[in-house]
Amino acid sequence: MMVETKSTVTQSLLEQLQKQSGKIAFIPDAEIVAAIRHLEEKGVPNNKHEDYKYCNIEAYIRKEFKSIEQTFNEVTNADIAPHKLEEAINIVVLNGAYNEALSEKIIVKGITVKALNELSANEKLLIATQAKSDVDALIALNTAFSNNGLFLQIEKSNIVPMPIHIIYVNSNNASALVNSRSFIHAQQCAEATLVESFVNIGTAKVFTNYVSEKLLDENAKLTCFTYQNEGPLSYSVNTNQAKVNRYANYNNTTITLSGELVRNNHNVELASDYCEAHLNGLFITNGTQLVDNHTLIDHQMPNCESNELYKGIAKDKSIGVFNGKIYVRKDAQKTNAYQSSKNILLSDDATINTKPQLEIYADDVKCSHGTSTGKVDEEALFYLKARGIGDTSARKLLLQAFAQELIDKVEVDSLKERILQEFEKAL
């Protein structure tokens, strides 16, 4: 029975998308055929799938995306303006496609920004090297149907003096499924700060299947801030597939403030020695929201370091998940890996599921993990009240304090300001 339903949902999805999609120029045909085969074999993941235990994507698609219309509103500069960041170079990806007209002109040297359809033969070779279709059916879905996403390259030894801001915008006016893809390449010794904002200015439900491949060459440094505030019409899976090479440093801080379903897959390969990755996240959920953060840090080589700090606040009947997997392979001696997840439940009906998963095959490593889920600290609450601060403000102060550590990691001032404001609204 389950198998039948699975194939029906996947099959119906495939048929609808195949009718509507055009020729994909940046991925070899053979790879696309393989992707479709993987998708058909595995099906869109449901809760029988270990990695999607709390996140039944198939059920969401069956319930909310029976038919997919793929019709989108026109978008003007005025629609985008409020989502831009003043100190950044603002680049727009609209309904999964790089939009040059809405993007700002690149005024600094050493950055290449183009649509995936415009790639040179050499550049094309990079695509789909990180995110593999056989690993996850949603990567396969994206590989088969994403079209004309964004390619961003920071050239060798170039230190970008201002943040680069990619705004992923959806504008559908009927039920839509968007496959959005980007490839970010920091070449040797390049350094950049990247903000990725996810917004929805459409008027109907949208399921977005984002895949972003990030490749850091030797000595590169990429500091990423992911800001998710797509609102209640949005359902998304966000796969970030990063490969970090020798001496390189990859940072991601993901702030999730809205979205009916937000599933994040942060997969990091520490592929050479002396490189590091730092993954941080903050989410607040309310209503019936589900925010599911999955991280996977794959220590492949010696002397690498990884740090993770995730915090969540769950209200109403919402569900928050943190699943952090750390692999330390046999060759990855002298690994340092730390992971911590802290959560606050604000209602009896809210749920937090946390699961640290450490798989260690090397013998000379330092790994630690910790997780806690609780309510607002009653002692601290009483202390604040005993000074005349009312219950509502006291709770607000404590939740802001809980979140501050992560909001403070956001080094882009105007983004931090925006997050502070929106976070307060979400409380």
């Binding site: 202390y383 604040l384 005993a386 000074r387 005349g388 601060i389 009312g390 403000s393 304090a401």
Partner: protein
């Protein structure tokens, strides 16, 4: 100022306060002394409104109002201040932000406008001098990483900022070295006026060398068993609590 009549309170099944009577008037300093487990901290917690305790009998009138009916925040807004025996660390909330919020909520309760930022900062500067608190501590998270002495001084600093009518100092002397004790006591003495009152809760007589009480009460097994002037504290110091225990042994 405050009038406590036949106050009984328990935690779970266990009765800890067994009928407290106490009258404190403006301008007075009262010391409540007693051995461990006599109910000293319970009394301060019940007065401040901690919800872990059930008040089973009695009444407390604070400036003409029924204190026991009020939420902890309203008690503070009415002018009651508890200096905690164990001040709580609150990472992420700065001392300054905390005090600004507290001060302005108290002002709003009394129909006053928010204090202008400039005046507030001037007040912080003035009052932190009173307890020789490094002004850097004001911008740090509430009590986080403070030494024991700094925490206690921070309590008195908050008291100075909020200017309460009645301050209850719960074992403020515990864990202080002699220099810190002098600083804290100096601060409390400077804040004393004919319009406010202080209740000192302490185990030892030591604090009373610095803050001289008008009245001393001995709390034992949930009741005030003896009251007197400041000389009672000295008597207690000389005899120890064992005498009291013998004299007032009550069958449980």
């Amino acid at each position: 100022m405050i009038s406590i009549k036949n106050l009984k309170a328990s935690i779970g099944e266990k009765e800890i306060l067994r009928g407290i009577n106490l009258e404190v008037k403006a301008g007075e300093v009262h010391a409540i002394m007693g051995p461990n487990g006599s109910g000293k901290s319970t009394l301060s917690s019940v007065l401040a409104g901690r919800e872990d305790y059930d008040v089973t009998e009695g009444e407390v009138t604070f400036n003409g109002k029924n204190l026991l009916d009020m939420s902890p925040e309203d008690r503070a807004r009415e002018g009651l201040f508890l200096a905690f025996q164990y001040p709580v660390e609150i990472p992420g909330v700065s001392n300054v932000n905390f005090l600004r919020t507290a001060l302005n909520e108290i002002r709003a309760y009394h129909g006053q406008e928010e204090m202008p930022a400039k005046d507030f900062l001037a007040l912080v500067k003035e009052k932190s001098k009173l307890v020789e608190l490094d002004s850097k501590l004001a911008s740090r998270s509430v009590n986080e990483g403070f030494s024991g002495g700094e925490k206690k001084r921070n309590e008195i600093f908050q008291m100075a900022m909020l200017n309460p009518k009645l301050a209850i100092l719960d074992e403020t002397d515990s864990g202080l070295d002699i220099d810190a004790l002098r600083i804290v006591a100096n601060g409390v003495n400077k804040l004393k006026s004919k319009d406010n009152a202080t209740i000192l809760i302490t185990h030892y007589q030591r604090l009373l060398d610095y803050i001289v009480p008008d009245f001393v009460h001995i709390l034992y097994k949930g009741r005030i068993v003896k009251s007197g002037g400041k000389e009672l504290a000295l008597e207690l110091e000389a005899k120890g609590y064992d005498e009291i225990k013998k004299e007032f042994e009550i069958a449980d």
